[in-house]
Symmetry: C2
Subunit: 343 residues, 2 copies
DNA sequence: ATGCGATAGTCAATCGATTGGCCCTGAGAT
DNA sequence: ATCTCAGGGCCAATCGATTGACTATCGCAT
């Protein structure tokens, strides 16, 4: 039905001017019809403009529009490590929600404060994005002052920070749930693997874990830290096994850490869950570990999507909120949790 | 040392005009000094422009520049699934190389042909990117004709396609290596898990595997297909175990499939490698499985980076190449490979 | 004194879309 | 017959940077 051939000979995409010329009207008329501006036009003129636009497959030149309106229709997301499934989940949610809302998403994957800062500055001062989603550690002075000096609508995701709104899950509840679950299974000596990088997320999980332990009347737990990575989890677990009194229940406060922990335990010939029970975070993929990990599911993809919603809210002048995803963390029971070994 | 306070009161980022006005020179002079144009200026004028620019922290407005020069300084990448570690690795390489070269990277994560096509069209017709990296299945008619009708510099990554350059690893060699390795360990009955989606990547791996089997004088192998995902690997493995003659050596032609295979074997109480040996792809993270997977390492991150290089080459009018990453696939020996069970 | 060529810039158009203001025409009101 | 007003749409400035064409000044040679 569509006739491709008559669009040929027009090597470049159509512009307003092309439509205006074809119809002998002014470009401003075309613009107002197509982009909604307040103008009255005869129905047949309007329709002919709309028809010609779709015939030429017209789309406004993003940069030209941006130059005039100061809106790019783009958001950016600043990630510490896109190979970490936590962040690829967040990215998925963000990218897709952005697309639904008509934005494009610009992704930056950085590994230290210096590059976070320089990427931030580049994105903002070249005015490439309308708003930014920030998932990198927000405690660094450098990045904080970059944000303060060159402000742009932004929200933190999976982080909380003093200088902006944030979208997180209820990390406290997750930690609490882990402690409660281990306690109810009969464990008395617990351990917590956190993050070495002073991450607020890890701190909230620890606080919740602590509260859970206290409520259950348990003694202080072993607390070790290492980077949130497979290797970090592996190494932290090895450290844990050196303790005079080995724990029988372990909460790995991150999926990669949980996977690393499992590998370390296996390497030391410690059975899970017969000798040590393990609970991890971020259950979805954890089903394919050996043994399948009991884990606490949170809505990572949803978090990314909601971050886009909040940035969009700011851009539309609506009041932004600090969002804590409503869906509470929930326990997915699998095989890595059991009763403690009989004495 | 830097005096932040004097930049205040200038709520918007500096423009060429700001610099020009401060120095009482023409904006065109400023532009030519800052962006390299052929012009002769007195050294002191030049220096004062440079100084003022850095004092005001000037950066060219990306859209304004783009409008004039028809270069966005942006690339896009079209992904089928960013939560698949294969693609998050590629994205990492692409995003970082892009940043090194001064591009920003626009990421789209799509799940079917229709949305691939519409995202492609959006990016191209709004002229948001200078070039595109395409990692989605390139066999769909719809996307192919979208590309042909609205061409833009592009390369395929981890894919080969008739309508453009591609950057891949030597998938044939990987398949061949897997077959050889299994054969040398003494296995006679092999199986291959491929992809159901008619992926050219999987086909090349299969072809290499076949060649390896033939060279080793082995009979035809079991060939099952399923989606490249954990669940796909799980299900495919279950199918495999139904065979009258169970294979003793299994090549999972994708990491997620390998992880799924391990889970399925474990669920069926089949020991690895005592009962069945498994070789997987994409070794890096596979060390943390149980048992650690013997796998074939390829340079996924490098592939993403090279894709950026090729797009950049096209944009600079250099001759692009079909790149096959030089570093050959190599076997990482771990615990999932052993001799076949005695009879 | 005149001319020539550097040197050191300036001028003005342009990229494509948006937008506030202005103008023309015809119909209805007086 | 004249005034008003609304409908329909055009004009021109603007966003910020780039770029080819052009000009003014000076030194120097003729």
């Amino acid at each position: 039905m569509t006739d491709d051939s008559q669009d040929r000979g027009l090597p470049r995409p159509a512009t307003l001017k092309d439509i205006a010329r074809a119809l002998k009207v002014d470009v401003s008329t075309v613009s107002k019809v197509l982009s909604g501006g307040g103008i009255s036009v005869r129905p047949e003129t309007r329709q002919s403009i709309i028809d010609e636009a779709s015939r030429l497959n017209y789309r406004p030149h993003a940069s030209a529009r941006n130059l005039r309106t100061r809106r790019t229709g783009a958001m950016g997301i600043l990630l510490p490590n896109i190979m970490n499934p936590v962040y690829s989940s967040i990215v998925r949610g963000a990218v897709r929600r952005a697309e639904e809302k008509g934005y494009v998403m610009l992704v930056a994957d950085v590994d230290d404060e210096a590059s976070s800062t320089s990427v931030y500055l580049k994105l903002v001062s070249e005015r490439r994005v309308d708003g930014l989603i920030i998932a990198v550690n927000a405690r660094s002075k450098e990045i904080v002052s970059a944000i303060e000096d060159n402000p742009i609508p932004h929200v933190f995701v999976n982080r909380r920070a003093a200088i902006g709104r944030s979208v997180t899950v209820d990390d406290q509840a997750a930690g609490y749930l882990a402690a409660k679950t281990l306690a109810e299974a009969g464990h008395k000596r617990l351990a917590f693997i956190g993050d070495s990088d002073d991450l607020d997320t890890a701190q909230r999980r620890r606080a919740g874990f602590q509260r859970g332990c206290k409520e259950a009347g348990l003694p202080p737990f072993l607390d070790v830290v290492g980077p949130y990575s497979r290797k970090g989890g592996y190494d932290s677990t090895l450290k844990l096994l050196d303790a005079k009194q080995r724990p029988t229940g372990l909460f790995a406060s991150n999926l990669l850490v949980g996977i690393g922990a499992l590998a370390a335990l296996r390497a030391c010939n410690i059975r899970v869950p017969e000798d040590i029970s393990v609970i991890s975070m971020d259950a979805e993929d954890a089903i394919y570990t050996a043994p399948p990990l009991t884990a606490i599911a949170t809505s990572l993809v949803e978090m990314g999507a909601r971050a886009v919603d909040e940035v969009d809210a700011i851009l539309h002048g609506r009041e932004p909120h600090d969002v804590v995803i409503e869906e509470p963390p929930r326990l997915i029971m699998r095989e890595s949790l059991g009763p403690p070994p009989a004495q």
